[in-house]
Symmetry: D3
Subunit: 135 residues, 6 copies
């Protein structure tokens, strides 16, 4: 169980319910993930986090699926089990095929490998990628 437990809709205050309602309406779903029910003990963080997520994950210069793939990549690198499970499901819902998933995992794996090779070999940045110091 989450540290402070989960706050279900029927037990929620009006301000928490308003966020739950907006989550369900925005995502066109009829339930709210445990993540939101867990942080609902702190309505200010609940509202701020949801508003931020809604803003950040909306399609813009990057489409919604690409953003979801990025979310999964970060979650895997951070080894966040909850986040991997839920955002993988979200990406699938947004159109991620098994082939896309496999390529995502392959890229995440290679990035983690070469990150460590670059760091371990203490490679310095190539001159063309350096920028002049800011004033």
């Amino acid at each position: 169980m989450a540290t402070l437990g989960l706050i279900e809709y029927e037990d929620a205050s009006p301000e928490v319910r308003a966020v739950y309602d907006d989550i369900m309406a925005t995502r066109k779903v009829d339930r709210v993930n445990n993540f939101w029910k867990a942080i609902a003990h702190d309505p200010v963080t609940l509202k701020r986090t949801w508003e931020s997520i809604k803003q950040v994950m909306a399609p813009g210069a990057l489409d919604a699926l690409t953003k979801e793939l990025i979310y999964v990549a970060v979650s895997v690198t951070n080894n966040c089990g909850y986040c991997i499970a839920t955002h993988t499901a979200a990406a699938q819902k947004k159109g991620m095929t098994d082939a896309m998933y496999a390529e995502l995992m392959a890229a995440v794996g290679m990035a983690n490998e070469t990150n460590n090779l670059a760091t371990g070999y203490q490679v310095e940045v190539d001159d063309p990628f350096k920028k002049p110091r800011s004033r």
Copy 2:
């Protein structure tokens, strides 16, 4: 300087030169990044890593730019300065605009925040996202 120094083209063995040549031909560039020159002290790792990168980063179910964005997302989460500098440049070369970059950073930032909230609040995976145990 890299741990073992960098191996420049003119000092490289034929097998190392063959990899350098393939990197330049594949990427249509006339220089090889320090990363490759640093790991060239180990020609087996050089060849294996390049062949893997070439396979993983080639367009497939995901296009080349999306894969580069994923690479940047992982590199930022791992805090690999070298990788951030070079893969951000690579993504820009493949078409990443400043607007796309800004949205990438925003998504990486939010993913790192909510990863920690989910982990910290000890949220358990929602039933719909759980899968039956494998046999």
Copy 3:
């Protein structure tokens, strides 16, 4: 089960029991956490780790609760499930209210987000925060 299993008090050597006794006396509890029982297979590490923890976590310039909050912040960032569960409980025992817990999580989450934004945007340290090089 822990890699090497747990060593219970009744099965412990005198030197291990001495550490267990000191843990229970110092913390005014009547049981020893699994962490200590797991590393007790290595009595030298058990004793060194306990003596270090006892020294580091004792109230000093920072009070005991603040130190526990710091421990939770690190454990969440490292995604250590065992450590989050036990140190959150320890912090609650030392007086952490739900409101304090919520603010702790919010700060940890934001710190992780802005850490990644600073790293991703490759921000250089402001001049006022730089220090002269040591001799």
Copy 4:
């Protein structure tokens, strides 16, 4: 230099200047850190991040210094050089003495050590710290 460079006050749009002004007024300083100038290329993220930071770091159930210590603890664990430099300075400004700093570092170090011992030894959570599964 930051990926997209820094936006100085005199070059900023009115909406960016409004955030800069609020940062300086809230913190009672006459300059804005490079962090804000770097992300100002994305005014939406600039505003959202500042509003979030202002909310999260304001004194509440935890005082402002304790929150700053938590920020430093996370930044060290994430190895974010920029964040360590600026938040250590911020903590000092809010009253962190050298003795408090030393205890903070000691606690962060031990937490990282015992996190890895708990993870490495595969210690399972003690029954008293487990909670009943949520419905």
Copy 5:
């Protein structure tokens, strides 16, 4: 269950079976770990990863056990539960005694502690360990 489930030998394509056969023959075992069955949905990644592992983990300048200890050290630092469980077992099979295991854990723990102390105290590299910049 793994994201895409596990592919058992009897359900595998000839190319996947060929990798499974090579794993079992190389390791002199009669079963294949879930890791390989999970990534077998992507036969290209399966083959590339196995060929890479076979090359990297073969005895060379470092013996096979030392390489396995390094694998465990990385897995603990990354907090990868699956990897810790399987590579600890693999190390034991290759001759890791309980005493060696205890010293491995102690070294991993101390390295994580001092990494954070060095990072937190913002220690600069000693002149003797600096190298001239590459040309």
Copy 6:
């Protein structure tokens, strides 16, 4: 410069000098690394950390070089620049050849890759590697 600066031998208190002397005698060197000079502002942490390192890194069931390789593996995974520079140098002094170094880096890189593949694919632990729950 380190956060609180470095304490040189000639400026050190007798208790700090005693640790410096022991470091130089134990390691048979005539200088003390910046790491120790940086944490010497906190003599209690200086002494505790040195005593712990001395104990943990002494040859035992694992030889001194193997322990140093493990230290480098952890430092690379944590991306601790200072630690990578100094412990790579220490490993070389203890006998690490360029060939051993190359194999170390290759193993660290592959471990980081497969850690992420195992985590990303949400692979569950194989039955043979599971242990009965502790009582």
